[in-house]
């Protein structure tokens, strides 16, 4: 439950302009899907929202307050290259968020608390089809399994803003539909604000309440780095969450 | 710290290192003789073996020990030049062939050393012995090239092809002489009484605690009396503790001039030779910078001998030869 405001935002790497004069206002509880050519700066935009990159110029506000300069449990992330913790089994990877928020000092849960957390985790594992693999280490999982786990890991703590960087790239259509359902259910239950990068236009239209298209307004063929991308289309989509769930 | 030890106290720490002339200390501790004497004077004496000889003197100088064994030259250059007023309580022996100069090649003479690199522990008594030896054949130190070589490695170093000459002490010297091409060209028996092995006590501690001195002196002469009698148990123990067998140990003992009785010791320290020796030693030390970078003259450190004679700066007496307790021992008053 958080609104996001972007004001005259620029992002440059060295002399390469990646994002150019971005202006946006996203309301509480929107489901924003982002599309755009490869390398145009979508991931960079998510990293800015996450707080791990600083804008070169301009402002980024969450609920009209400047964005905290570091990641936190209010903003969940699924990376393009899924990153799991190699030293933890599937269950442990999933429990981690609950343990962090439930036990500030030890970062571990015991007794009844642990049982409750474990139930929640197991239910989620079941719904993403990883229950049978719950004791494996990440290196023993297939690519798609890792991606599903990564998604589950970031939604289990129910963040206010969920950032998804091509979360369904490595999933087959059946499982992809299941994951859509999980994300949509969580979104409508918790009214979080979602930003999702996708290359699948159909998916973007189907899931989002708003579609952002990133593209360069200007091109300099001599110097392709001179101009950056910005939001060229900002389409409100009309469908309701409940409808989309059924779809 | 050194001043702390000036007060009267009940327990004392003594450091010793492995050398033929100091092995009696180990036996005194092991056999209970030392404890017997300490008990007699109502004190405790803890004897600590330090394997690295120089380190033991350094530790004594830094104040970790009340007493330590060392040679006359090292006493002058380390504790005394370091400002720790020290007293030579017991003159146990002098080297009488224990230190020697070896040149590779049978039949070589000391004069043949000219132009050769010489492996030795620089600035040690070996260095002093070499300097004294060179004088006898009219050579100067610059006629040779001194290569600093640690005493632990000197036997192995001698075996290397590029080693031509070496100066060292026993038991290393015996090992080197055992190799077929080694020629002993000079040894400490040619300068008898110049390399002296001592039990050195912090002067302030000594002054405040005569009991400590009495216990040490008493234990020492009781122990070496056993040696003089060739007590098999004592000798076997000392041989083993110094890492060799009885034959090897007796070989070392043969070139060590022990003062078997307090009387012998007394006549040596009160005699004139100690003073001439110390004069030679302090000049050598000064020439080699051993009295410290700040030393402007050979006289910086004052040395006091029995009877009140002094060498060097009488206002800065840091090295003392004391015959009081040996005298008591010789009179049987301990």
């Amino acid at each position: 439950m958080a609104s996001v405001t972007v004001k005259r935002l620029w992002k440059e790497y060295g002399r390469q302009v990646v994002l150019e004069n971005l202006n946006l206002r996203i309301e509480d509880g929107e489901f924003v899907t982002i599309v755009g050519a490869s390398g145009c700066g979508k991931t960079t935009f998510l990293r800015l929202l996450l707080g791990v990159e600083k804008p070169t110029r301009g402002e980024l506000l969450i609920d009209d307050k400047p964005i905290p300069p570091e990641p936190g449990p209010d903003r969940g992330i699924v990376f393009q290259r899924y990153s799991l913790f190699p030293h933890l089994t599937v269950t442990e990877n999933l429990l981690l968020g609950l343990e962090f928020t439930g036990s500030r000092f030890l970062g571990r849960l015991f007794g009844a608390k642990r049982r409750t957390a474990l139930e929640k985790a197991n239910a989620l594992l079941d719904s993403i089809g990883l229950y049978a693999a719950r004791d494996k280490y990440p290196s023993q999982l297939s690519g798609g399994m890792q991606q599903r786990l990564s998604i589950a890991q970031s939604v289990i703590c129910e963040p206010e803003i969920l950032l998804l960087d091509e979360p369904f790239g490595a999933l087959d259509p059946g499982i992809r539909a299941d994951m859509h359902e999980i994300i949509l259910r969580l979104w409508s239950q918790n009214r979080m604000t979602v930003f999702m990068i996708s290359h699948d236009l159909k998916e973007s239209f189907q899931l989002g309440t708003r579609l952002l298209v990133f593209d360069k307004r200007r091109q300099d063929p001599q110097d392709p780095d001179a101009y950056g991308a910005t939001v060229t289309y900002n389409l409100p989509l009309k469908a309701k969450a409940t409808d989309r769930l059924a779809a | 710290t050194p001043t702390a030890s000036a007060a009267e106290k009940k327990s004392f720490k003594v450091a010793w290192s492995i050398y033929v002339g100091w092995m009696p200390w180990d036996y005194a501790a092991e056999s209970g003789i030392l404890k017997k004497w300490a008990d007699k004077y109502g004190i405790k004496i803890e004897l600590t073996q330090i394997n690295d000889y120089v380190e033991s003197i350094n530790q004594y100088t830094a104040g970790s020990f009340d007493a330590c064994v060392m040679t006359n030259m090292d006493m002058l250059t380390i504790p005394s030049a370091g400002g720790v007023d020290s007293t030579a309580l017991i003159v146990g022996d002098f080297s009488n062939g224990n230190d020697g100069v070896v040149v590779k090649g049978k039949g070589k003479k000391l004069a043949d050393i000219k132009g050769l690199p010489v492996n030795l522990v620089e600035l040690s008594v070996s260095h002093y012995l070499l300097a004294r030896g060179l004088e006898t054949v009219g050579l100067k130190e610059r006629d040779i090239k001194v290569v600093n070589t640690s005493d632990a490695d000197i036997v192995g170093a001698y075996a290397a092809a590029d080693t031509k000459a070496t100066v060292t002490w026993k038991p290393q010297l015996s090992e080197i002489l055992a190799s077929p091409d080694a020629q002993l060209v000079f040894d400490s028996s040619k300068i008898p009484g110049e390399i002296i092995d001592l039990m050195v006590v912090n002067s302030a501690t000594l002054k405040a605690n005569p009991a400590f001195a009495k216990a040490l002196v008493g234990a020492w002469y009781e122990t070496i009396a056993l040696m003089a009698k060739k007590d098999p148990k004592a000798l076997a123990h000392m041989a083993k503790a110094s890492g060799t067998d009885l034959a090897g140990f007796n070989g070392q003992l043969a070139t060590t001039r022990m003062f078997w009785t307090p009387a012998e010791s007394l006549s040596f320290v009160t005699g004139p030779q100690v003073q001439t020796t110390m004069d030679l030693v302090r000049k050598f030390s000064f020439d080699h910078g051993l009295l410290g970078e700040g030393a402007k003259t050979v006289d910086v450190v004052g040395i006091e001998f029995p009877g009140g004679k002094t060498l060097g700066n009488a206002k800065n007496i840091k090295m003392r030869f004391d015959a009081t307790y040996v005298k008591l021992a010789s009179e049987g008053k301990l």
């Binding site: 990153s83 970031s154 703590c157 | 330090i50 530790q59 830094a62 055992a178 890492g243 090897g248």
Partner: protein, 271 residues
């Protein structure tokens, strides 16, 4: 014919290959020893096998006349105690330092240059100070090893902590991890196997320091014995002792490797 890089020796020949260089070394020794002993039967540098066996027997199985103890075991026990304690302390401090240096920028700014500088101090050169501050007992010996080994372990661990992918750290923060939880639940567990590697690489150094410490002030221990007989060039004692030290260190290395595999299976399969 597959590429060399893909050819794995079968178990049996792997064992044979592993033993080969040692056999060559032994052969070289025998040859050298024979040659020297023919020239001079009293040569002590490379004693014959018979002499070695006798000496080993005397040191390892006969009671010492003087103390009634079997020297090799007394020495081994004394040295092992020291080195195990010292390595334990070094690993603990090294891990703590390395972890905080690697994880927390302020600590890095504060401690990294200092640790780097300290790791360069040759501890043997400041031994006198060490002995005076810590006395000549067990503490000083253990401290010498700790001082010599810890900074290197700390730097190694810090280097490795810095190599963890940033994505992991970011992800953990989005899961609500504080700096403390990040350190204890994400970074620390992943550093364990790396700590073991770091300690393994320092084993040789640790033994070196132990030997140096024992050579200065001690009355038992493997390093002490070597020091004691060194002035007699008793290679018939030194060589078996060196072999024994090497074997002990090698076994420690091997046990650490096994422990790493058992305790942190995920770190093996990561490759």
């Amino acid at each position: 014919m597959p590429r060399l890089i893909n050819l794995h020796p079968p178990r049996g020949s792997a064992a044979f290959l592993a033993v080969l260089p040692f056999l060559v070394l032994i052969a070289a020794y025998l040859f050298g020893s024979n040659t020297r002993l023919e020239a001079n039967p009293d040569d002590k540098l490379l004693p014959s096998v018979a002499t070695l066996v006798d000496t080993v027997h005397a040191y390892a199985f006969e009671e010492d006349r003087r103390s009634g103890e079997v020297l090799l075991w007394v020495d081994t026990w004394a040295s092992l105690k020291r080195i195990v304690v010292a390595l334990g302390i070094s690993a603990a401090i090294g891990l703590g330092l390395g972890l905080t240096i690697g994880a927390i920028p302020y600590i890095r700014a504060l401690a990294a240059p200092f640790v780097a500088a300290v790791s360069m101090i040759p501890p043997l050169a400041i031994l006198p100070v060490l002995f005076i501050v810590l006395g000549l007992g067990e503490v000083a010996k253990i401290a010498l090893i700790v001082i010599g080994v810890t900074p290197v372990i700390a730097r190694d661990v810090a280097l490795r902590a810095g190599e963890l992918p940033t994505e992991q750290l970011i992800k953990a923060q989005t899961l609500g991890a504080s700096s403390w939880l990040l350190s204890t639940r994400i970074i620390l567990p992943q550093l364990w196997p790396r700590l073991i590697d770091a300690v393994r690489l320092q084993l040789g150094c640790a033994w070196l320091f132990l030997i140096a410490a024992e050579a200065i002030a001690s009355t038992e221990g493997l390093g002490y014995r070597i020091f004691l007989v060194r002035r007699y060039l008793a290679m018939d004692v030194i060589l078996p002792y060196v072999f024994w030290i090497t074997l002990l260190a090698f076994l420690m290395d091997w046990m650490l490797r096994i422990a790493r595999r058992r305790l942190f299976p995920w770190a093996e399969s990561q490759r």
